[in-house]
Amino acid sequence: MVKNHQKHFVFSFEFNQEIEIYKFGATGWPRVILGLLLLVTLGNFLHLYKKGSEAQQGRVGISDIEEEITYDGIGSIKKLLAILSLPLIFSWSLKPVGFYSATPVFIALTIMLLGEKRIKWILGITLFIYLVLILLFMVILNAPLPQGNVSPFYDFSAFMLTLNTKLHQSLNF
């Protein structure tokens, strides 16, 4: 960890940029923080050496570690990895596939991965969440959501937006 901070500290010299109106330049502040972090890491080592993994006194928001998580097999680890990966895949897919096509798949898969097995519920809740989001962000707020750039997903997004425009025109929105 210490090595890592040193590396970042040195790395900051490689892309420093002078700023005419600011003497300390682009990396002045981060370097101070990296230096402090180095000291703090040494403090952490000291604590680890003296107290082991015992929680440090006075830190806020560490109640999570009070609950020990135990894995009973490879199945639960695979499940967790799938849960962690799914949002990343979803976010990656937003550019080519677009929000309107990727979202229902994401909702259904998330519900399934979190343990729901009843198909009717999965489909019903997926549709409900999708409609709520479309109503709120597309119809009411007119928020520009990713449309995708690959056919037929892009065409579907265009279809949704056309529907929205027609709806607005008919309601004189």
Binding site: S12, F15, N16, Q17, I19, K23, F24, A26, T27, W29, P30, I33, L36, L37, L39, V40, T41, G43, L46, H47, K50, K51, A55, Q56, Q57, G58, R59, V60, G61, I62, S63, D64, I65, E67, I69, D72, S76, L80, I83, L84, P87, L88, F90, S91, W92, F99, F106, T110, I111, L113, L114, G115, E116, I125, I129, L133, L136, P144, L145, P146
Partner: protein, 490 residues
């Protein structure tokens, strides 16, 4: 003052259309504050063009009301789902969400409702009584050097997370920010053009709070250890709240003081309020694990900042933050300029706005208490149905800010980071503090240094700076001493 206030109230409630605008502002502010991904600023930006067709007083009043109720609205999602509606509600989540996990959601939301109303009403009263002298004092005495000193002094930055927590957060804050240089410069140099504009803090906050929380609970679900939070409709008793009267009073003062600082407003107010609560508490370790005083302090302080933020705007024409800047837009649409002359040229406008802010804060109490019981039932929704909704709201919220898919990716990456850090016992509040206060700190440090021509002695010759820096160092050394003596104690 009383006559003017009564006249303002009569003007406000004497016209049904104005009443309609007031009610729209109250409900709209609460809703937009509570829905993750959008904020009161979104609503204000949408409404800005429409204010051209309103009377100037109605337009400014609408924005002031949205400001009051929107600041409160974000507390609900912070408490129930660990998703702060806005950065100023982030400290509310530190203790509010653990309270929900412990089955005390009713107490947390009740405290937030009541304290938001108390903070807001008191701030509105002070605003009515002393706008001009306070504005003049703040502008002539407080500048970037003092604001940096204030951030340095913030006890949470120094004391609470003895080693890794806060300082790690400070690093994260610096690296994650869209502020000055580091990310932008490194982004260009490593060829990632999207990073040239830096990393916005909304996706990072959403990731660390909402997404990491979903992952933590999903992990428990995967290993069969998930327990749904218990629904509780128990509100805090009067006696319980009375026992925190000092915290309320302190947060009111802290919030009001931060509110009148230019460019700072409710966010720093909430963090300072929370930080001071921890500093003066006899039971510091309980913060972050469901201490009601954490909710009370941050919610009182952020709402106390709303009235105060109007002071430099109305008295001097200087907007303190994004919301007050939009209000300048409303003034300009009607060929008015906020500033001292408004008090003489348009006293009606001023007093309608003052009265509306007073009643908007009161309405937080009544509407808040009525809606709370309904909102708390959201906790009954099974986690597998709630999780995709939260993830999508957070995704949209991250995307809308700049229209970049990269921001959604960053949000999920910070979510995974937050999950792993929490699993290792690191402090997420520390990181969030770093993200929010790191930006304020760096910006004001840079501006302050330019103001004093990089002369440290000149910097320290400013009495408020000197006082805060000395107090900050004292706190820092006390914290380090305590941490070291604890580590060395066998």
């Amino acid at each position: 003052m009383v006559d003017n206030f009564l006249a303002g109230s009569a003007a406000l409630f004497g016209d049904p259309f104005t009443i309609g605008i007031f009610i729209f502002g109250v409900i709209g502010g609460m809703l937009f504050g509570a829905i993750p991904g959008v904020s009161m600023l979104t609503l204000a930006a949408i409404l800005l063009p429409f204010t051209a067709s309103l009377e100037p007083a109605q337009g400014v009043m609408l924005f002031a009301v949205i400001y009051c109720t929107g600041t409160y609205g974000g507390a609900i999602t912070a408490i129930l789902f660990n998703i702060p509606g806005a950065p100023e509600n982030a400290p509310t989540a530190f203790d509010g969400y653990p309270m929900t996990r412990k089955g005390q959601s009713g107490k947390a939301v009740g405290a937030a409702v009541l304290c938001s109303a108390i903070g807001g009403v008191s701030s509105a009263l002070i605003m009515m009584a002393a706008t001009e002298p306070l504005a003049n004092w703040a502008i002539s005495n407080i500048g970037p050097p003092e604001i940096f000193a204030l951030v340095f002094f913030n006890p949470l930055l120094i004391v609470l997370s003895m080693f890794a927590g806060i300082i790690g957060g400070l690093l994260a804050g610096t690296l994650f920010l869209n502020n000055y240089r580091f990310v932008a410069t490194s982004g260009q140099s490593i060829g990632v053009n999207y990073l040239a504009a830096g990393i916005a803090f909304v996706p990072a906050i959403m990731g660390f709070f909402a997404v990491s929380e979903i992952f933590v609970q999903a992990e428990k679900k995967a290993v069969g250890m998930y327990k749904a939070p218990k629904l509780s409709l128990d509100f805090p008793t009067i006696l319980e709240l009375w026992s925190h009267k000092i915290a309320v009073l302190r947060s009111m003062l802290v919030g009001f003081f931060c509110g009148i600082l230019p460019g700072i407003g409710a966010t720093l107010a909430a963090f300072m309020g929370y930080g001071e609560a921890v500093r003066w508490s006899k039971n510091k370790d309980s913060f972050g694990k469901g201490n009601i005083e954490g909710v009370i302090s941050s919610e009182t302080a952020n709402n106390a900042a709303t009235g105060a933020a109007m002071i430099p705007l109305l008295a001097l024409g200087l907007p303190g933050g994004a919301m007050t800047a939009l209000m300048v837009g409303v003034f300009q649409m009607h060929d008015l300029e906020p500033g001292p002359m408004v008090f003489y040229n348009s006293p009606d406008l001023i007093w309608i706005v003052f009265a509306a802010m007073f009643y908007a804060n009161l309405s937080i109490l009544f509407i808040g208490l009525i809606e709370t019981k309904t909102i708390l039932h959201l906790l009954k929704i099974p986690f597998q149905f709630l999780a995709p909704m939260i993830l999508l709201l957070a995704s949209i919220g991250s995307y809308i800010g700049r229209g970049l898919v990269l921001d959604v990716m960053i949000m999920f990456c910070t979510g995974i980071m937050g999950f792993l850090l929490r699993r290792s016992g690191y402090s997420i509040p520390g990181i969030v503090l770093g993200i929010i206060l790191g930006k304020i700190g760096e910006q004001n440090f840079a501006q302050g240094m330019q103001m004093v021509h990089y002369d440290v002695l000149e910097y320290l010759s400013r009495p408020i700076c000197l006082l805060l820096i000395i107090a900050g160092f004292l706190t820092l050394f006390t914290g380090i001493y305590k941490a070291l003596s604890y580590s060395f104690k066998s």
